[in-house]
Amino acid sequence: MNGVILNSTPITPALVAEHGLKPDEYDRILKLIGREPTLTELGIFSAMWNEHCSYKSSKVHLRNLPTKGPHVIQGPGENAGVIDIGDGLACVFKMESHNHPSYIEPYQGAATGVGGILRDVFTMGARPIACLNALSFGAPGHPKTRHLVAGVVAGIGGYGNSFGVPTVGGSVRFHARYDGNCLVNAMAVGIAKKDKIFYSAASGVGMPIVYLGSKTGRDGIHGASMASAEFGADSEEKRPTVQVGDPFSEKLLLEACLEIMAKGCVIAIQDMGAAGLTSSSTEMGAKGDLGVTLDLDHVPCREEGMSAYEMMLSESQERMLMVLRPEKEQEAEAVFRKWGLDFAVVGETTASKRFIVRHRGETMADLPIKELGSEAPVYHRPFVTLAKPPAIDADTVPAPESIADALETLIDTPDLCSKRWVWEQYDHIIGGNTVQRPGGDAAVVRIENGPKALALTTDVTPRYCEADPFEGGKQAVAECWRNLTAVGSTPLAVTDNLNFGNPERPKIMGQFVGCVRGIAEACKALTFPVVSGNVSLYNETNGKAILPTPSIGGVGVLDDFAKSATLAFKRAGETILLIGETAGWLGQSIYLRDICGREEGAPPPVDLVEERENGDFVRALILDGTASAAHDLSDGGLAVALAEMAMASGIGAALEPAPTDIPAHAHWFGEDQARYLVTVPADKAPAVLARAQAASVPALRIGVTGGEALALPGEHPLHIEALRQRFERWLPDYMAGGV
């Protein structure tokens, strides 16, 4: 697209294909507008009708997710979800992927992912108080992995640290199935007054549409289309489609936006994210039942001679579109000038319901505004549900020579090792409200001066989703709910970030459908509605797809942050209780994969009734001050959870022998769901066990805290300091070029 691009360029089948539109989709355009589109119009359709913006493959399934609840103020469909957290406050949050750009250019791809999700949150009037992320990388031995980890982590830190939001939590995993496509899912959480939420629907005819923020350049053109196709051998050539982030401008944009919102200047606001000016302006008009006319001559440009086509498709960052109260326009402009940001009236709302784009006196596009979104293709893509793998009998899984040695090995693996190297590159304390820092079950962030606080986490176990999408979808939600519970919070709602391969393949579509069904079932059962989300498909390279990875970002609330529990043992001589049923499920376990080298079997089933009962029991123990520490059991099972509690505190523990009805290694490493570890003062243990029995919650006394070692029965003691050194070493060694 170099040189002069004529709007009257004839639309050839090749040009249509270059825009990622299928022949039948192009026919749909011809039918809709009754003539051949101009080049700018073709660009607009390609931006609006790609997978990323239109959700054309996923829409019919997403409808089954529960999105309503007593505290839901705004579900999916706006910039972010909004929930009521009491005291007149609302929590605004969303998670979004930046997978494709991060693989091509890790620093900028990840940075702009953070920038985009922060904008989604403050666009709604909320000041961001926390960021989280969920990262998936290829096998450590793959030649690109180290470079991607370094770039993505630096990019996330580079943006969030400069913008000034604490990055308080997340997850990092490695698997060969991400060799060709890393996943970067970023979540942002903000707080607003419940009655001061801003939306994107324009209202009123003849209202000025104002462009705010940074200038428009030629970066990111077709970014959303790039993110809607699989990679081939040419992915490196797509670098120019990646945007460049400027956290400094975004910080100014945040302050300026919040200032004019507080002054009552704003009627409607929409950030320019994917598909930039096109998507934001049509959305504001369509949602408000209005037309929009844009005059591109007024768009602040970074480069000279930009065509209408380029301006409409640019994904330059740190830009906003607003409809302002006409009488407050000057006041708003003064605020933006103070912060050194661009401010330009670039169009107006009309009664025509047309989307008209003018440039240099010519009409470059004239399209029906509502149909641009509502008439986008919707696909009922064929899908197959694969037979569930058989459950693995724990007796057939080889026992290790030593449970203690196996545990030492496991905490020194890429997935279970400490991720300190990552989160120490993120400013996780700015704001002065981080009650629980990274490394626990969930982060806890105080709201202003408290005592109210939010608990935040991101979770998914992709190998479970691969083996059984339905159970895997359930488990992702259940683990998120459990992590929020383990810090003592009441889980309120989630945002989902659904990462899959090419939906045109029935097997991949089957994974998607299964996971969404599982998520829906768990969210319903746990009263944990989905209030926002994002779908990322085509995470596939040369026909090899990622593991199905539906990341779940959860928000819980604590009335008093001082009551939150941490996983560290608190003092010697306390009783360790295992809450939940242990059957010794080794199928798809980390033990089976990383010790036995087998990725096999059915994943652990999730009983949602048990999840709720056990979780409610644990939460009550935390909130009434009985439990001194609490920890969710997940990857690596009981032994790994115990090690984590010991390492976080420096206090050891002596454990009782495993029950004789299951193999010892299944007891220590099984990944049965709905389980927690809690510690209670020894004298309170009998009463707690009685309470559990009365509530029909399985609870078992498994040991006592104390000493400087983790002493598993019949095993050599694991000295905590030595264990910690192994836990901390893998990632720094790997990043330094070793391992």
């Binding site: 640290n161 400069s162 400094f248 401008s249 590159q425 996780h428 304390i429 700015i430 981080t434 009650v435």
Partner: protein
């Protein structure tokens, strides 16, 4: 304590600092915009908080050091007024010529956020009277460019004149390369001006003033300042 917190575009710990000043002195500070030319009348402490002024573009602190308000700060400091610069504030003070030396990229070339231990070298300054000399405090750092350096002569002078106020150390107060996370020369974490009225430091005492959020080890700095100023008044 009438404190003034300077706000440059891109500064992002001004809210943390304002809250801590209010908490420790009982008075809300005045937020002063970079384009102002004068400090509020009656200011008895100027604070330049942390962040990324002007995006750290060009060189961290370089652009902010040339903002209109900095002329007023220079005059104020020349008059003996108390000036505290934290993190980006320290970088700005160095760029503004109010403190010697420069902050380079951390030795490992990465941004680092974690708690560090600081040895308080002197307790006879207005900034450290809330501590004992030799006391070890735990406060967080969050920076990519905190590696302090100056020419040999300057370092010798700083050391000779007792102007190194905070040093990175082990939990038991030993200066040790393993506990000097950013590679600063002589493990320098904070220095004072010749007259002792300007302090620049990389760590964030303002983020450790509550037991529930980290620790209260940072409190001594602000409480000591408030007490010193109350006595002076």
């Amino acid at each position: 304590m009438n404190s003034a917190v300077l706000v440059f575009p891109g500064i992002n710990r001004e809210r943390d600092m304002a809250r801590t000043l209010a908490l420790t002195s009982g008075r809300q500070p005045t937020m002063v915009w970079h384009a102002e030319r004068e400090l509020p009348a009656g200011t008895d402490l100027v604070v330049i908080p942390g962040g990324f002024s002007y995006g750290d573009y060009l060189r961290c602190g370089a652009i902010a050091a040339r903002a209109p308000i900095m002329d007023a700060v220079r005059a104020y400091a020349a008059n003996g007024g108390l000036v505290l610069g934290v993190c980006n504030g320290f970088q700005i003070l160095c760029e503004a010529g109010l403190l010697p030396g420069v902050l380079m990229r951390n030795e490992n070339l990465r941004f680092i956020c974690h708690d560090v231990f600081l040895r308080v070298e002197r307790s006879d300054t207005p900034f450290t009277r809330g501590y004992n000399a030799g006391q070890v405090i735990r406060v967080p750092v969050a920076h990519g460019e905190g590696n302090y350096i100056a020419d040999g002569e300057t370092i010798a002078r700083l050391e000779g004149e007792g102007r190194v106020i905070f040093r990175y150390c082990s939990p038991d107060g030993m200066v040790d390369p393993n506990w000097n996370h950013n590679g600063a020369i002589n493990a320098i974490a904070g220095i004072a001006s010749e007259r002792g009225n300007v302090l620049g430091m990389m760590p964030h005492p303002e983020n450790h003033v509550e037991a529930a959020i980290g620790s209260t080890d940072g409190r001594g700095l602000f409480a000591g300042l408030a007490e010193a100023l109350a006595r002076a008044a």
